[in-house]
């Protein structure tokens, strides 16, 4: 197809970009970016084998010392300057406790600082989270010290703070070292946004979680999704109050859906019915989501609210909860406008 509109589009794009700013530090900025990535990813490898030996001698005792969470951290040392050695994963990588099991007791960093050198970090939903949410299934094993630096860099909570009293999700961020030792902090993504290190508290639970998701996104772009059959199925919660909120950033127009369930609730929020979509239906749903999702919010009133939720699991295992709003589905400032065929498919799944 080559029509007048395409020609005018070409002209319009050229005309809109007539002038580009002169940026004399562009190549310096690019080098700085490359250097920071190299520093984070390969650390001491870049400085040669001799340095590796020296670093191993100095870093390993630190890791061991921190394995119980009580050792003396790197107070006063600029953490971003510490090269992150490729860290060996523990024999038994930490997994989030299941919803029913008792929480596993873990050390909290006594002085409010996480030691560098962790092999992995994982976020879990706190079992007493005021609002349920579904954490990522994958652990972060790259750039872990970036998260350590972010958390350690959060300001210590002020003595007198006025906090809102809304409920929100809470998480545990668990750092695990090569020897299997763990330390955890707790973050409340509501109120004063406190991150608790035992007795000490810092401000910025949302910021720490956002940093985690940013690095996780980068890790995913390098590693790709896990095998689809390994992903757990989805079932609808018994009430809307138990519906997990979506915290992991998602772009619906690029979301690959592996599993999906549609849930309907009565006026009081109790479960009425649910339907699980077949693999073929999931493929259809996935294509429709990618094709007909946009960013934005809906400011049109919906006179006949339907208490319906579509739960989807992405190829990375994330759970995304989309709320039905008339003929649309909404999540996190994104709107999906399904086709009639997809709406019919969802209706049929509920019967």
């Amino acid at each position: 197809m080559n029509d007048d509109f395409e020609d005018s589009l070409r002209d319009a794009l050229r005309r809109a970009t007539q002038a580009a700013p002169d940026e004399p530090t562009r190549s310096e900025g690019a080098r700085a970016y490359a250097a920071s990535v190299r520093r984070r990813r390969t650390g001491v490898l870049a400085v040669g084998a001799a340095a590796v030996v020296v670093a191993a001698i100095t870093i390993v005792p630190t890791v061991l010392d921190r394995s119980d969470g009580r050792g003396d951290p790197v107070a006063g040392r600029p953490q971003t300057q510490t090269p992150q050695q490729p860290v060996e994963l523990p024999d038994q990588p930490f997994e989030c406790p299941s919803g029913d099991g008792p929480p596993k007791p873990m050390a909290t960093p006594r002085d409010g600082t996480i030691a560098p050198g962790a092999a992995l970090v994982r976020v879990c939903a706190a079992q007493d989270s005021p609002v349920p949410w579904a954490p990522p299934l994958d652990a972060l094993t790259t750039d872990v010290d970036k998260i350590v630096s972010t958390v350690n860099g959060l300001p210590v909570a002020r003595d007198k703070m006025a906090c809102t009293e809304e409920a929100g999700p809470a998480y545990l961020m668990v750092f695990q070292y090569s020897d299997g030792g763990t330390v955890q902090v707790r973050g409340d993504v509501y109120g004063c946004q406190l991150v608790s290190f035992g007795a000490l508290e810092r401000e910025g639970a949302g910021k720490a979680l956002e940093a985690y998701f940013d690095v996780l996104t980068e890790q995913r772009s390098q590693q790709g999704p896990p095998p689809a059959p390994s992903l757990p199925t989805l079932s609808c919660p018994g009430s809307t109050a138990m519906n997990a909120v979506t915290l992991i950033p998602q772009d619906l127009s690029h979301l690959t859906v592996e599993k999906a369930s549609v849930c309907s609730y009565d006026g009081s929020g109790q479960s009425l019915s649910q339907g699980v979509l077949s693999p073929a239906e999931v493929d259809e749903l996935s294509a429709d989501l990618q094709a007909h999702s946009t960013g934005g919010v809906v400011d049109v009133p919906c006179p006949a609210l339907q208490n319906q939720t579509l739960l989807v699991r992405s190829d990375y295992g994330d759970v995304v909860s989309l709320q039905k709003y008339c003929e649309l589905f909404l999540v996190a400032e994104q709107v999906w406008t399904p086709t009639e065929a997809t709406l019919g498919m969802l209706r049929a799944a509920l019967r």
Binding site: P21, A30, D214, P249
Partner: protein
Amino acid sequence: MDFDDFVAARGAVLWRSAWLLTGDRHRAEDLVQTALGKAWPHWARVSTSGSFEAYVRKTMFTTYVAWYRRRWKAEVPTEHLPEQSGHDDAEQVAYQRDIAAALAQLPRGQRAVVVLRYFEDLTEAQTAEVLGCSVGTVKSQTSRALAALRSSPALANPDKDER
């Protein structure tokens, strides 16, 4: 030509595409520097074959498509569109804002396809190669993007702002 020469010669060209992708000059600069930073370690290997610009372009577009909404969730045209060198009249700024707004309505994949096809003048096959997808996907994304852009006031009536 070394890396600095390349950036000096081609940086503005990359920036223009980045601005069309992001609709914001600071994010455009961020995107260009990120792409250059990712590509720079491969300069010695790729530049000898004369394809470094294509390498950076591919890096830039795939970085843009992969970047999460959270990071750029305020992906809207701003009041501060590309700086003009001496002739930043209000009409041009308004025109740029209209184009940015028209592009902003597209999902990221469609926007990338539009910029590659209609600004970079790549073929469907070349566009597919840059984005790492099939030609069929490029065709369908192009079709959807054009349908959306046709209803955009700035593009539906391209002569509106002609001076």
